[in-house]
C-alpha cells in the first residue's frame, strides 16, 4: 500500500493511524525560526468519528488507508443489517447498525447515499444532503396559521423527528436537510 509524507497531508486524505483508518481534517506546519519543523495534524477516526490531534516530525509518513466512497442505493433493513447496492454492478453490501450510525434515521428505500468502504466492507454511511420523507405523526394542523413562525415536532416515516411549521398534517411529505435536521419545505408531489 502507498504511503504519504507529511507534506502531502491535506484535508480528506485517508491514512492509517494506530491501526485505524482516519481522514485528515487539518494539517498545520509548525516551525520555530531556529529549530526543528513539525506537522500538527487533526485526523478523524473513521471507525469512531472521534477527532485526534497528533504531532509528526516533518517528513514522517503514514500508510494510506484502503478507504473509498461509493454511491449506492439503499435497499432494505433485515432487522440486523442494512443492505445497499452499487447501481452499475448490482453488487450488494451489508452494513452493520454501527457502520450506519445516525444515518439510519434518514434512510428511505431506493434513496441513493454514500457508503464508505474500508478494505471492501462498509465502514460508514452518509445520507443524501436532502431527503423527502412522509410525516407519520404530528399534532393536528392549525388552519390559517401559515404566516406565523411557530413550530411543532413531527415524526417522519424513517423515525426521525424534525421541527415543522404548525400547519403541516400527517401524510404530507416534506424536504429535510440531513446535515442539520432542518425542515426545508413541503415536497412537491409530481
Amino acid at each position: 500500500m502507498a504511503s504519504y509524507s507529511t507534506n502531502e497531508f491535506k484535508g480528506g486524505l485517508k491514512v492509517m493511524l494506530d491501526g485505524d483508518p482516519c481522514s485528515i481534517v487539518e494539517n498545520e506546519f509548525v516551525k520555530p525560526g531556529k529549530g526543528q519543523a513539525f506537522n500538527r495534524v487533526k485526523l478523524r477516526n473513521l471507525k469512531t468519528g472521534r477527532v485526534w490531534e497528533r504531532t509528526f516530525r516533518s517528513g514522517e509518513s503514514l500508510e494510506a488507508a484502503d478507504v473509498m466512497d461509493r454511491d449506492m442505493e439503499y435497499l432494505y433493513n433485515d432487522g440486523e443489517f442494512y443492505h445497499f447496492m452499487e447501481p452499475e454492478t448490482f453488487e450488494q453490501h451489508q452494513a452493520s447498525a454501527d457502520a450506519v450510525g445516525d444515518a439510519s434515521k434518514w434512510l428511505k428505500e431506493q434513496d441513493m447515499c454514500t457508503v464508505t468502504l474500508y478494505n471492501g466492507a462498509p465502514l460508514a454511511v452518509t445520507p443524501p444532503n436532502h431527503v423527502i420523507l412522509e410525516i407519520t405523526d404530528t399534532d393536528p394542523g392549525l388552519r390559517g396559521d401559515t404566516a406565523q413562525g411557530g413550530t411543532k415536532p413531527a415524526t417522519l416515516v424513517t423515525g426521525a423527528v424534525v421541527k415543522v411549521p404548525l400547519f403541516l398534517e400527517i401524510g404530507e411529505t416534506i424536504k429535510v436537510d440531513t446535515r442539520t435536521g432542518e425542515y426545508l419545505g413541503r415536497a412537491k408531489e409530481d
Binding site: K31, G33, A37, R54
Partner: protein, 317 residues
Amino acid sequence: MTENFWQPTASAEALRHRARLLADIRRFFADRDVLEVEVPLLSRRATSDPHIESVTALCGGQPAYLATSPEFGLKRLLAAGVGDCYSLGRAFREGEAGGRHNPEFTMLEWYRVGWDDRKLMEEVGELLGRLLGTERMRSLSYRELFLQQLELDPHTVSDVELRDCAGREVELSFTPATRDECLDLLMSHRLEPAMGEGITLLYDFPASQAALARVVEDETGTAVARRFEAYASGMELANGYWELTDPEEQLRRFHADHSYRAAHKRHVYPFEERLVEALCAGMPECAGVALGVDRVLMLAGDYSRIDEVIAFPIDRA
C-alpha cells in the same frame, strides 16, 4: 473549482497596507542613520543551519542557492566597515509552506555595531510597537517562561523529566530524540499559543540553540546563548543575536552543522568560508536581528493566513 487562479490571494487593501509598512520600516531606519544595502539573493554558498533547507537553482550550469537570509552578505559588509546596515527583501526556504509560511517571503534584517542583544531587543520592541500600534510589551528569559508555564527549568531539568513533559503536553507520533526537540515541541505547541496579546521579547536561550550567537554565563552561572526572539499574539516574528565574531568558533559551528546534516541524511551545502575570512579580517562587535515582514503585516492588518498578505503565494506564483 470555481476560483480563478490567475488572481492574487491578497486584497488591494492588504497590498496597500504592505506598501505603507515597507515605507514605515525604511523611515524608521533612515531616522536612525542605518544604511539600506542589497546583498545577493543567488549565491554559490548556502546556510549550514541544520533545520533550514535552501532552494537550489542553476546558474551558469552550476548549482546556486537562493538566500535563506541576507546574513552572510551583511556580515561581510560589516567586516568591510560599512557600519549599521539593513536589508529589506526576499528570502527563500525550501519546504516551508502553511498558514504562517510561504517558501518565498519578505525578511528585514539589520545590524547594530557596538550593541549587544539586550540593546537591540529594545529597538526591536520599539519598531514592532510602532508597526503594530501597541504599547503592550513584556520581556522575560527563556527560563522564566518555562518556569511560569510548565514549572520546569529548561537548562537544568533532567532528560527524562523533560521528555515526560513533552509527551504529556503534546500528542506525539514519535519519541523525541534530544532535549532541543522536546524544548521546540513545548515552545511551539504549548508556550507560543499561551503568550497572548501584545509583544513578548524572550532572551537567553539554551546554549545548544545558539546558532550564530555568543554563549555567555548568566547570573546563575548557566551557559546561555545571547539570543532573543520576539513574538506577538503567539506568533514568532523575529530572531536576534549578539553576534559571534570569533572565526575559529564560527568555523567549528559550520563543521558541527555539517556533521549534524550528514548524520540526519540532509543535503550538505557548501558553507560560506568567506564569512570566516571576513571574521578573520575583523568584524566589529555587533548585534543583529531578522524579522518576518509578512507576519508583522498579518498582525497589523488582522489577517489570519499568510496568503492574505502575499499577492501570489507559491500555489499561484
